[in-house]
């Protein structure tokens, strides 16, 4: 009994009790899958385990010969490299307009954050209908005021990807905006006052004070946004299903399709996941350096 009582008063012992649930879960559902992923990538394995055997580099070699994989890479890069700058730019400009805590500004911030809260599957439904070439409000207004023909945004090869990108920016710019507003509010007012003394106008202030002082938050947003964009799935799944003509088939979407529908090829899907992981890790390093720094105070 004495011994039992002692246990709960020894922090070097109790610490493991505190850690146990999280460590077990992380080990089973993060660590083991990570290792397995690297192993399965070098195996021939389908979802039914019908013919499991080592495959060496076959999956990786096949990937670079697979036009659909290369197409998915291309689409993912197009998405990431266009969506990210648009979202950052929108977030930054709007954050700059809304950084003061007036009633109207706070109202705007609350409103712009609403899409962030909404599930992408619901947003996808709404956009599919609003942008529909036959019944949608947007094509109707475009043809009424600008004389454009009724475009079926998600169903036309050249419009599908831009539309998915715009929808994503619409949903997520409030997120970037919120992070950057906190950043802008952290900039000392002294800089702005000094600049005003020197006759700087608002545009000067934005380029010579706000942006340089915001570099850390901005860099953080850029890289996390890029990493998130490389994993884009939900938008595509609920609106275009990868079409038309595979113009919106992204890497994670193709991985999902490969593993969980015909041909149910888990080995190949894992090999593609590993390639994705390598790209993401390269991009992640600066982010984690940035996150961990304040911890070392």
């Amino acid at each position: 009994m004495k011994k039992f009582k002692d246990f709960w008063f020894r922090q070097d012992k109790v610490a493991y009790v505190f850690l146990m649930p999280s460590l077990v879960i992380l080990f089973v559902f993060a660590f083991i899958p990570l290792i397995s992923s690297a192993v399965i990538a070098f195996m021939h394995m389908d979802i039914f385990f019908s013919d499991v055997h080592p495959a060496g580099l076959t999956n990786f070699i096949n990937a670079f010969k697979d036009g659909r994989f290369l197409n998915a890479i291309k689409n993912t890069l197009v998405f990431a490299l266009i969506e990210m700058p648009l979202q950052i730019l929108a977030g930054l400009l709007i954050a700059n307009l809304l950084s003061h805590n007036s009633f109207f500004n706070k109202l705007c911030r609350s409103v712009f954050f609403i899409p962030v809260v909404c599930a992408m599957s619901a947003i996808g439904v709404v956009f599919s209908l609003l942008l529909d070439g036959n019944i949608g409000m947007v094509p109707y207004l475009l043809s009424k005021f600008f004389g454009v023909r009724d475009i079926s945004f998600f169903r036309e090869a050249q419009w599908a990807m831009p539309t998915v990108i715009i929808m994503t920016v619409w949903k997520n710019f409030g997120y970037t905006m919120s992070i950057l507003i906190v950043g802008i509010q952290g900039i000392s007012q002294d800089y702005y006052e000094a600049a005003r003394m020197d006759g700087a106008n608002k545009v000067d202030e934005f380029f010579y004070i706000t942006i340089p002082q915001l570099m850390q938050s901005l860099g953080f947003c850029i890289i996390t946004n890029l990493i998130g964009s490389l994993q884009v799935f939900d938008q595509v799944y609920v609106t275009t299903g990868g079409g038309p003509q595979r113009k919106t088939e992204t890497l994670v979407y193709y991985i999902y399709k490969t593993g969980f529908s015909q041909p149910y090829d888990l080995g190949y899907a894992c090999a593609m996941s590993v390639l994705l992981l390598i790209v993401i890790l390269i991009l992640s390093v600066p982010v984690y350096l940035r996150i961990f720094r304040p911890e070392e105070r």
Binding site: A15, C118, M137
Partner: protein
Amino acid sequence: MRRKHEAGWYVAQALKYVLLVFLIIIVIYPIAWMFMGSIKLEKEILRFPPTFFGSKYTFKSYKRVFTEIPMLQYLKNTVIFAGVTTVGAVLFDSMAGYAFARLRFRHKNLIFILVLLTMMVPFQVVMIPMFLEVRYLGLLDTYAGLILPKITSAFGIFMMRSYFAELPKELEEAARVDGCSEMGIFFRIMMPLVRPGMLTLAIFHLMNNWNDLLYPLMMTSDSKMRTLSAGLALFVGEHGTLHYGAQLAGAVVTILPLLVLYTFFQKYFVSSAVSSGVKG
């Protein structure tokens, strides 16, 4: 001191408000239209030219979506999945974060680095082995299979660690002198002090799990086990150009609970986004 403004300043201000009001319309319109569409008659959604208001309002679309697919079951599944995951994850993340922030034990730094490593790996990369594992454990299409992999997060541990690290050192020393056990110190003294952090983390978990699509899609194949987000996506996939009203009603049911929470806990939604950074 009141500055006199030039004409250009007024023009700029006017432009700013015009732009912001325009943006508010762009953000609100699709969501307002979704609510309107869900109570309009089907034929009025299909009418050309499209209209915002309907001539008659009805709950037929809601009735349809609740009878054609087990929407009520989806709602229940989502509440159980997101709810249990959130409560469990906040508790476990807090416990682990607390240990890393304030307790002394062997191999602390090594264990912490391993935890952080798992944070760098996105779910999309490990989803296939995770699926195999859950299947091997016989937990596909069960609440346990949905909840267990998500019931802690390296990010949450990391975040709670920084909240606990900010508390003054004297607190637990006084409690230890008074003969309080380590468990007592955590539950009675420390946890109440980081309530804002726990709420922020709770919103983070709730929002991510409620809205998650790929994960529940993969872990459930039985239509009785689907979540709202996955169920809606599959319903839309099956009825592409049919039952538009029902699709919109399903969308409303999916997002309304979080929207209601957002109006009450807005501060925590925004702070969870700001402190998270790493999405996915």
